[in-house]
Amino acid sequence: MRYDIVDEPLEIEPLIAAVRGPGAGALVTFVGYVRERADDGRPVDGLSYEAHRDLALAELRAIGTEAAQRFDGAVVAIAHRVGVLGLGEAAVAIAVGSAHRGAAFDACEYAIDELKRRVPIWKKERYVDGGERWRENA
């Protein structure tokens, strides 16, 4: 288990290392990147994220614990970037190790869905035309 809110570029390898083990027959990763267009098609220049760091870490920890309970002891590592990100940079990374693939896929999906729903992190889109806007998860 490993949970981070980081200012530097994200790397998936340390998360993979944190969840691998002799009992982990399956490993699933998810990485979310800054993409070039907003949901409404507007060209994006980059994103800025900020977090309530202490609360975000506590919530990530809770999500990891829940995932282990729900999905056959899956081991979860999650890192989220904060600060100013450019196109193509990773905003969130998740690695899950589990005995079998089903639990690993399920736990990974659970982790990203719950992160978007309940972890106090905020995103502002910065547009090529100069505007910017806070974006909320549905």
Binding site: Y49, H52, L55, P120, W122, N137
Partner: protein, 81 residues
């Protein structure tokens, strides 16, 4: 009683970075602190239902009774991931 209000993200942009203290009546709840702030910043009205509250390092509900000296974080809807 006096509470210190700590705004985040979009709410912070609306109210500015200044330390925000509001004097509230005894028995005031988290929602009353938000209302006191919204009275000064009308743009906050649209966030009234969606704002979450945090006291210390834990989420609290809008119904939570506040105490003198509390620090209350105002969290607009999340956008992580």
């Amino acid at each position: 009683m006096t509470v210190r209000i700590v705004p985040f993200a979009r709410i912070r942009e609306i109210v500015g970075n200044a330390v925000l203290e509001r004097t509230l009546a005894g028995g005031a709840r988290a929602r009353d602190a938000f209302a006191a702030l919204a009275a000064d910043f009308p743009q906050l009205a649209e966030l009234e239902r969606s704002t979450r509250f945090v006291r210390g390092d834990a989420f609290v509900t809008a119904d939570t009774e506040l105490h003198d000296g509390d620090e209350l974080g105002l969290l607009p809807p999340f956008g992580g991931g």
